[in-house]
């Protein structure tokens, strides 16, 4: 039994090593890929713009729930006016980056993984190699960078809509004073809160996109293999996001 445990441990380490190796390859190719920015902006459109609706809707509902729960909680201490601060800090530092990343993994990450997996299964990757075009450079890096760029933008949109949702419930429905809602928020939310949110969503962007393109690029070229790659993308992303979230939060304290 110890032997099996040891083997699965070394397997996991090997997997991590090959992911890191893949990341280094992507980074090495990134400067050249940045020169063809139209390829990247197309991917920002694919991963980012198509995730907009789901991000905005979720942001609205998460904000509304925050408004309701926050109001209920703060009312016990007679400090409903702090609702704006509570909602904004919760969204900018935590819920915005994390929920966006989870949604991104489900919406854009799976699409990336299955697209790359199918490209391999249908010989498109080999065809590119035969045309003397490096598929990492031409296909993988733009998708990776597109995801890295999209994530902070989506997280920002999520937080903005979320704050609006909290305001909608707190101020419009529950009757918190609108003036103090906004003014307390403006004085309490500091630059470092925003920085933390941006750092988180950037790191999540790298992690989610890396996992998706890695799983897709190395998927077994069969229907089953592509399906498994897609599932793994979501599962691994979710765990990694929450783990990294803890690390970054601890680092910022």
């Amino acid at each position: 039994m110890f032997k099996e445990l040891w083997e699965s441990f070394t397997d996991a380490l090997e997997g991590l090593g090959s992911v890191v190796h893949f990341l280094i390859r992507l980074i090495v190719h990134s400067p050249a890929a940045l020169l063809r920015f139209n390829l990247i902006s197309q991917q920002v459109f694919n991963s980012g713009a198509f995730s907009l609706v789901i991000i905005m809707l979720s942001g609205l509902f998460v904000g509304m729930v925050l408004g309701l729960q926050g109001f209920e909680l703060l009312q016990r201490f007679g400090s409903e006016e702090a609702l704006g601060t509570a909602a904004a800090i919760g969204l900018v530092k935590e819920l915005g980056p994390v929920v966006t990343a989870l949604l991104f993994a489900g919406r854009a990450g799976t699409a990336l993984a299955s697209e790359l997996g199918l490209m391999r299964a249908t010989d498109q990757i080999s065809a590119m190699e035969m045309m003397a075009v490096d598929p990492i450079q031409r296909v993988v890096v733009p998708r990776f960078l597109g995801g890295v760029i999209s994530m902070p933008l989506l997280a920002a949109i999520f937080s903005v809509i979320g704050v609006y949702g909290a305001q909608l419930v707190g101020v419009q429905i529950m009757g918190v004073d609108g003036g103090s809602f906004w003014s307390q928020m403006r004085s309490a939310v500091s630059l470092s809160d925003i920085t933390e949110g941006i750092v988180k969503s950037l790191v999540f962007g790298v992690a989610c996109s890396l996992i998706a393109v890695y799983q897709g690029y190395y998927a077994t070229p069969t229907a089953e293999g592509v399906g498994r790659a897609t599932t793994r993308t979501v599962v691994t992303s979710a765990v990694v996001i929450l783990f990294l979230d803890y690390l970054i939060t601890a680092a910022f304290l």
Partner: protein, 271 residues
């Protein structure tokens, strides 16, 4: 320039996949400017041979030269330079599904050249005209039939004007009309563009109408070579079995298995 007569020169080549030899002492010379067919039963390594010629896999031992380059000592950068001089048609076309037909054919030009948009357009339309699909330029790959995809892929393979054009099973799953079109295209492109063609196939009838020379692979070796006519009259058992399409012969009908009778009577519930 003094060019050797053979564009692909393979001598005494060994190649094994996870310990199982695919080729052992393979010798094959493919002449320049002709259409050469490589035939053989499934699983004899026809596609592997193509992968060796295109440098997708490396031989274990022996010599392999393609267009004067020693494939075993070629750096990755030089391999990519060499590949610009080759075109390859994959079994199902392998078109990039997110690009239109026009953009698929333009893809190598956009990646490797700085030609103006006007020139790219002219080149692409010329190649599409050559395969009869100029009218389909704006369609997406998903809107094409199997035969049409392969013709688009052919246009893409010749857009960089290669010296060597490689076809991997170009006839699989085509209706007779598409098949005839592809056959005629292979002949016409070879003759008008002055290129060398290598066709891997197991369609004996089709290939003998178009090939100048045929090699028959079996068991990791070339078992017969010559014109299609010579192959038809070759008295060797394996050639007769393959050309005549007989179920049993040197290539057995049965996959290796334990004795039939023993297995039926054995008490094991599952293997």
């Amino acid at each position: 320039m003094n060019q050797p007569a053979a564009i692909v020169d393979i001598r005494n080549l060994d190649y094994a996949v996870s310990g199982r030899p695919v080729f052992a002492g393979l010798d094959i010379q493919i002449p320049r400017g002709k259409i050469t067919a490589v035939m053989g039963p499934s699983g004899t390594g026809k596609t592997t041979l193509l992968r060796l010629i295109t440098g997708q896999v490396q031989a274990d031992d022996g010599a392999i030269e393609v267009a004067g380059e020693n494939m075993r000592a070629l750096s990755r950068a030089n391999l990519y330079v060499l590949r610009r001089r080759m075109g390859m048609l994959f079994q199902n076309g392998a078109l990039l599904t997110d690009l239109s037909v026009f953009e698929n054919v333009a893809f190598p030009l956009r990646e490797h050249t700085d030609l103006t948009e006007r020139l790219i357009r002219q080149l692409v339309l010329t190649k599409l005209q050559a395969v009869g699909l100029r009218g389909a330029a704006e369609l997406m790959p998903a809107e094409l039939s199997g035969g049409m995809s392969r013709r688009v892929a052919l246009a893409r393979a010749i857009v960089m004007d290669p010296e060597l054009l490689i076809y991997d099973e170009p006839f699989v799953g085509l209706d007779p009309i598409s098949l005839g079109v592809i056959l005629r295209l292979i002949r016409r492109l070879n003759d008008t563009l002055g290129i060398t063609s290598i066709v891997v196939s197991h369609d004996v009838l089709e290939i003998s109408t178009v090939a100048d020379q045929v090699f028959l692979l079996s068991g990791g070796k070339v078992v017969a070579g010559g014109t299609p006519q010579q192959l038809k009259t070759n008295p060797t058992e394996i050639v007769k079995q393959f050309v005549g399409g007989l179920a049993d012969g040197p290539v057995p009908f049965h996959f290796p298995a334990p004795d039939y009778f023993d297995e039926l009577l054995s008490r094991r519930e599952a293997l």
